[in-house]
C-alpha cells in the first residue's frame, strides 16, 4: 500500500496538465467573479477570458519540444498535444472575440457563456493530450457537456433548445458506443493505457483477428466519428449547427472537431497500428461517404448557416482522408488542415454574424445580395474565406487539401485523392453561389444595420491573415506539424 501511494505521488507531474489547469482556473475564477457583477455586464468576462487564453497559450507554447508526461502516462503534453492545444485556443479566442456583440444583439448577454467556452477548450485539451482511454473519455465528457449547454444557450428559442437537446441525446448515445468499445478493448488487453494496449496487441497477434478486438475498434471509432461528424453519424450536425448560436456553431465545428480528430488519431496510431489495413479500409469508405454526403446536400441549401454546417461535414471527410493515408504527410496534413479550417470557418461565421440581422433573419443567399459592393471589406474577407473553403490557392484551404491528398497519393490511395478533388470541385458550386450573390446581384438592402465592432473586426482580420499566411507560406507550420506527429 505504501508503495502504491509513493508511485502515485511520483507520477504526478503538474507540468503535463499545466495548460488546461491554467485555463480551468481562469474559467472558475470567471464564474466566481461573474456572480458579483451586475447583470448584463459582460465586458470584464470577455477580457478575463481572453487574458486566460493568452496566458494559457504562453504556458502551452513552453511545452513545444519539451514533452511532459505525467499521471502514470495517462497524460502526455507532447508536440502533438501542443499543436492541437494552440488550435483549440485560437478557435476559442476568435469565438470569444466575435461573441459579445452577437450575444447582446440577440438579448442573451449572459456571462456564463465565457467560462463554458473555456471549459470546452480545457476538455478538448485533455482529449488531445490523453494517452489513456480514461483521460480521453474525461476530456470528451467535459468538452461535450459544456457544448450541450452552449448549443442550447438561447433558452428562449426553440431552435436552440432543440439543438441542445438533440446534441445531448445523440451525444449520450454515441458515448455509449465509445464506452462499450473501451470496455471491450480493456477486456481484451487488460489495460486502458494506449501504449500498453498497443504493445499487448502487438505481442499477441492472434488477438488482432479476435472479434472482440475488432468490435471494440469499431465501437470506439464510432464514438469519435460521431464527434467529428462523419457520415453516417453526421445526422445531428445540420440541426445542431443551425440551431445553436452562430459563434457556438463556429466554435463547435472547429475546436471540438479538431479534438475528436486528435484523440482518434492518437488512439488509432498508439493502439491499433497492427490493424492499420483494416481501419484504413473502413475509413476509406467513410471518408468518401462523408465528403460526398456533405457536399451533395449542401448544394440544395439556401440558408448559409445550414450550408456551412453541411460543408463542415465534407471538411471532416477531407481530413479523414489524411487518417486513411496514415503516413507522415497524411497525419501532419490533418493537423495542418484543422488549424487552417479553424481560421476559414470561424472567419466565415464571423461575417455571417454581421450580415444576419437580429434573430438571424438574414442568413439566406438573398441576404448577401450585393454585399460585395455595399460593404467591400466584408465582401473581400468573405471571398477569402470562401476561397479557402473551396481549396483554391493561395489560401490555407488549398495548402491543407494539397498535403492531405498528397499523403493519400503517397500511400497509394489515388482514387481516394481523385474523389476528394472531385468533391472539392462540387463544393465550388455552392460556395461560389454565395460569391455570385455578393457580387452579381443588385443589393436589395443597404446593409445599414451592419456595424463593425472592433472585436469582430479583429476576428475577421486575424482569420484573413491566418488563411493567407497558411496559404502562401505553409512550409513553416507544416514543418511544425511534422515534428508534432509521432
Amino acid at each position: 500500500m505504501e508503495n502504491l501511494v509513493q508511485i502515485a505521488l511520483q507520477n504526478v507531474n503538474l507540468a503535463a496538465i499545466m495548460p488546461s489547469l491554467v485555463l480551468v482556473c481562469f474559467g472558475m475564477g470567471l464564474l466566481l467573479i461573474n456572480v458579483f457583477l451586475p447583470r448584463g455586464t459582460t465586458r470584464p468576462a470577455v477580457w478575463i477570458s481572453l487574458v486566460g487564453i493568452v496566458v494559457t497559450a504562453v504556458v502551452t507554447v513552453q511545452g513545444w519540444g519539451n514533452p511532459q508526461y505525467g499521471f502514470s502516462d495517462a497524460v502526455a503534453l507532447d508536440n502533438f498535444a501542443t499543436f492541437f492545444n494552440v488550435t483549440f485556443l485560437l478557435a476559442a479566442a476568435l469565438t470569444i472575440l466575435m461573441s459579445d456583440d452577437y450575444l447582446r444583439r440577440e438579448g442573451y448577454a449572459v456571462n456564463e457563456y465565457y467560462p463554458l467556452i473555456l471549459f470546452t477548450t480545457a476538455g478538448a485539451m485533455w482529449m488531445a493530450s490523453g494517452t489513456d482511454m480514461m483521460t480521453i473519455f474525461l476530456g470528451l465528457e467535459v468538452m461535450s457537456i459544456s457544448l450541450y449547454v452552449l448549443a442550447g444557450f438561447f433558452r428562449g428559442q426553440s431552435a436552440s433548445n432543440e439543438a441542445g437537446l438533440k446534441y445531448f441525446l445523440l451525444g449520450a448515445f454515441s458515448t455509449g458506443f465509445l464506452l462499450y468499445g473501451m470496455a471491450l478493448i480493456y477486456g481484451v488487453t487488460g489495460s486502458t493505457r494506449l501504449t500498453e494496449i498497443g504493445a499487448y496487441l502487438n505481442s499477441h497477434s492472434s488477438l488482432l483477428a479476435n472479434p472482440m478486438t475488432l468490435a471494440g475498434l469499431v465501437l470506439l471509432s464510432i464514438g469519435f466519428l460521431f464527434k467529428l461528424g462523419a457520415a453516417p453519424f453526421h445526422m445531428w450536425t445540420p440541426d445542431v449547427y443551425q440551431g445553436a448560436p452562430t459563434p457556438v456553431t463556429a466554435f463547435m465545428s472547429a475546436g471540438p472537431k479538431a479534438a475528436a480528430f486528435a484523440a482518434f488519431l492518437r488512439t488509432l496510431e498508439y493502439c491499433f497500428f497492427g490493424l492499420k489495413p483494416e481501419w484504413s479500409a473502413m475509413l476509406w469508405v467513410l471518408a468518401v461517404l462523408t465528403m460526398t454526403v456533405g457536399n451533395v446536400i449542401a448544394i440544395s441549401q439556401t440558408n448559409i448557416k445550414r450550408m456551412l454546417a453541411y460543408s463542415s461535414i465534407s471538411h471532416a471527410g477531407y481530413a479523414l482522408v489524411g487518417l486513411v493515408a496514415a503516413n507522415e504527410i497524411g497525419y501532419s496534413g490533418v493537423l495542418f488542415y484543422m488549424l487552417a479550417y479553424t481560421f476559414m470557418n470561424i472567419g466565415a461565421f464571423a461575417v455571417l454574424i454581421l450580415v444576419g440581422k437580429q434573430g438571424e433573419e438574414n442568413l439566406t443567399l438573398e441576404g448577401f445580395a450585393g454585399l460585395g459592393y455595399k460593404r467591400p471589406l466584408l465582401g473581400v474577407a468573405m471571398s477569402v474565406f470562401l476561397f479557402a473553403l473551396m481549396g483554391l490557392p493561395p489560401t490555407a484551404g488549398f495548402a491543407g487539401k494539397f498535403y492531405i491528398f498528397a499523403g493519400a497519393v503517397k500511400a497509394g490511395y489515388i482514387w481516394l485523392a481523385i474523389i476528394g478533388v472531385l468533391n472539392s470541385a462540387v463544393s465550388l458550386y455552392y460556395y461560389l453561389r454565395v460569391m455570385v450573390y455578393m457580387y452579381f446581384r443588385d443589393p436589395t438592402e443597404d446593409y445599414a444595420w451592419i456595424s463593425l465592432p472592433v472585436s469582430v473586426l479583429a476576428t475577421i482580420i486575424l482569420a484573413v491573415i491566418g488563411c493567407l499566411y497558411l496559404g502562401i507560406l505553409p512550409n513553416e507550420v507544416m514543418a511544425m506539424a511534422k515534428t508534432a506527429i509521432f
Binding site: E2, V5, L9, M28, L31, L32, V35
Partner: protein, 118 residues
C-alpha cells in the same frame, strides 16, 4: 474466515428484529381510527393514481442535482480520510483544492439564488 462476517450478521439480525418488532408492537398497543387519507399508500407526496406526465417545478430538479453533487463529494473523502496520514501534506493540499472547487460551485449556486425556493 466466516468470523469476520459475524458483526454484519449481528447487525442484520438486530435491524430486522427492530423493524419487525416495532411494527408488531405498534399493532398490539396502538389505537386504530382509519380514514381515507390514512389508508392511502403514502400520506405525503404525489397521489399514486393519475397521469404520470406531470410537470414539476424545475426547482425540484435543481435541488436534486445540487444534493447529488454535494453529497457525492463525501464519497471521495472517506478513502482520503483513511489514507490521510500516509498521503501527508500532498494529500492535504489536494483535498483542499478539491474542496475549493466545490466551494466555487457552492458560491456560484448561492449567489445565483438557486438555493432559494421563491
Amino acid at each position: 474466515m466466516l468470523d469476520s462476517y459475524l458483526p454484519i450478521i449481528t447487525l442484520i439480525v438486530v435491524a430486522l428484529g427492530f423493524a419487525t418488532g416495532s411494527i408488531i408492537f405498534s399493532r398490539l398497543v396502538g389505537q386504530k381510527k382509519p380514514s381515507e387519507v390514512k389508508l392511502a399508500p403514502y400520506e405525503c407526496g404525489m397521489p399514486p393514481v393519475g397521469s404520470a406526465r406531470e410537470r414539476f417545478s424545475v426547482k425540484f430538479y435543481i435541488i436534486a442535482m445540487l444534493f447529488i453533487v454535494f453529497d457525492i463529494e463525501v464519497v471521495f473523502m472517506y478513502p482520503w480520510a483513511v489514507m490521510f496520514k500516509r498521503l501527508g501534506m500532498f494529500g492535504f493540499v489536494e483535498m483542499g483544492v478539491f474542496i475549493l472547487i466545490l466551494l466555487v460551485g457552492y458560491v456560484y449556486v448561492w449567489k445565483k439564488g438557486a438555493l432559494e425556493w421563491e
